[in-house]
């Protein structure tokens, strides 16, 4: 074949790569934080005794999980603009990602909530704790502990999926890669580097989640149970 690899030609753009990687991480962070909160609320909603609350949460989950992220991003970005609300691409990208990962998190957290033995909840009820107190003190943390691996995988997946926000002018890693590759026409070098960058980012995220796990699950820290 007639391909001579020239990594330096692409590598010299490392500040752009770095900028893109940082933006990707920022998006992932915001989506993880708020998506996590949204997911916890959604999961509580899905288990609510109030039928309409539960139904709304179910519709949210099903609508998001069964349509592509790209389409959701377009609908949010252009939809908001059509009704006169103009936000930066970054805000919209972050918003769309939060909504998206919130739906997945809802399902995962619900499974975690369901996995808390009924006996635990009854013991808490027997201690006169209110429903909210039970969620907060007895269910939330152990449930998160149980589903922590799936939860973190989902967030890493989200980070990888955030590449589609390049479509609406968010300058994350893939966007930068596309720019560099069309500027230099060095597609292979760019794609190989971007693959490496994503692997590194996902390792960073996993390490971060591991550290976070150590922090919020003190029992794991004390007893050394592997997460």
């Amino acid at each position: 074949m007639h391909i001579e690899f020239d990594f330096p030609a692409v590598l010299e753009r490392w500040p752009s790569f770095l900028g893109g990687a940082v933006l990707t991480l920022e998006l992932a962070f915001i989506a993880t934080l708020f998506g996590g909160i949204l997911g916890a609320i959604g999961a509580i909603g899905r288990r609510s005794r109030n039928r309409s609350v539960a139904n709304i949460c179910t519709i949210y989950v099903e609508a998001i999980r069964n349509t592509p992220l790209l389409v959701q991003i377009f609908l949010v970005y252009f939809g908001l603009a059509s009704i006169g609300l103009k936000f930066s691409a970054f805000s919209v990208a972050a918003l769309a990602l939060v909504i998206n990962v919130g739906a997945y998190t809802t399902e995962i957290m619900r499974a975690g909530f369901d996995a808390i033995p009924q006996g635990q909840i009854e013991a808490a009820e027997g201690l006169a704790l209110s429903r909210l107190q039970i969620y907060w003190h007895v269910i939330l943390l152990p449930a998160m502990e149980k589903v922590y691996p799936s939860l973190t995988s989902q967030f890493v997946l989200l980070m990888l999926a955030s590449s589609v926000t390049s479509q609406i002018s968010a300058e994350e890693l893939t966007a930068v890669a596309n720019y560099i590759q069309s500027d230099t026409y060095r597609a292979f070098e760019t794609y190989i580097l971007v693959a490496l960058a994503y692997v590194v980012l996902s390792l960073i995220m996993r390490a971060g989640f591991w550290g976070l796990g150590m922090l919020i699950f003190p029992r794991q820290r004390r007893l050394g149970t592997p997460l």
């Binding site: 074949m1 391909i3 099903e62 609508a63 999980r65 069964n66 349509t67 592509p68 992220l69 790209l70 389409v71 959701q72 377009f74 609908l75 252009f78 939809g79 059509s82 369901d114 995988s153 890493v156 990888l160 999926a161 590449s163 893939t174 597609a187 292979f188 794609y191 190989i192 971007v194 693959a195 994503y198 692997v199 996902s202 390792l203």
Partner: protein, 222 residues
């Protein structure tokens, strides 16, 4: 440029949908078999097999599918191996799906309670017999809901096959949109089609999950 959505366009989307469907079948068929092997390696008594398959899973799960497809199609060609688009996409999806399903299934095999493994061992069953007669039948019941749930992801992810020239549902929509400039209409239609493809599967997964939940409880007597 311009013009209005007509029957031909819908036909075009329909063809795209068929590709989406076909690619999904390939992904799940190939990925299912490979994933099964990965899962077995992940629980293998051999340390090296476990480590190697673990690294494989980590690597693949750290890469966007788009990049895997790109490297499979163009990267292999660059080192002199010409592959057809279908082969490249099939291989990429197989590799990608195998990493995820392998990991899901490993969890399911692992979640068959330890005493069950020991009971089988105590009956002098060989390792293969234990797997086949005792562990796998139980793991399958646990594995069905997450596997079916993962199918939904794959159906949506086949859209990335456009990178090697497949005009599946999303790409078909893009092409039509780029000549009609009706993004709302077209993307809403695409969303709807995906929803129609995916929703029944999601529901199925829920139903199975509820039944699987009951099954799981019976796995740990007393």
């Amino acid at each position: 440029m311009g013009g209005h959505l007509n029957g031909n366009h819908l036909l075009f989307l329909g063809q795209g949908m068929l590709w989406t469907f076909g690619l999904s079948v390939i992904a799940l068929g190939g990925g299912g078999i490979a994933g099964f092997i990965v899962a077995l390696c992940r629980v293998s008594p051999s340390r090296w097999l476990r480590i190697a398959s673990g690294a494989y899973v980590q690597l693949i799960q750290g890469m966007p599918l788009l990049v895997i497809m790109f490297l499979a199609y163009f990267g292999l060609a660059a080192i002199g191996v010409q592959v057809s688009p279908l082969a490249a996409v099939g291989a990429s999806l197989t590799v990608y799906v195998s990493a995820y399903l392998g990991e899901i299934w490993r969890g399911c095999i692992r979640s068959v309670p330890r005493p069950q493994w020991e009971a089988a061992e105590g009956l002098a069953l060989s390792r293969a017999q234990r797997m086949r007669m005792v562990i796998l039948p139980q793991a399958v019941r646990i594995a069905t809901p997450p596997t079916v749930g993962f199918m939904v992801q794959i159906i949506k992810n086949t859209s990335l096959a456009s990178v090697v020239g497949f005009v599946e549902l999303t790409r078909a929509g893009q092409i039509i949109n780029n000549s009609l400039f009706e993004p709302f209409l077209i993307y809403s239609i695409i969303a709807l089609v995906y929803f129609v493809l995916c929703f029944p599967i999601s529901r199925l997964s829920h139903r199975l999950e509820r039944r699987g939940g009951a099954a799981r409880e019976t796995l740990t007597p007393a």
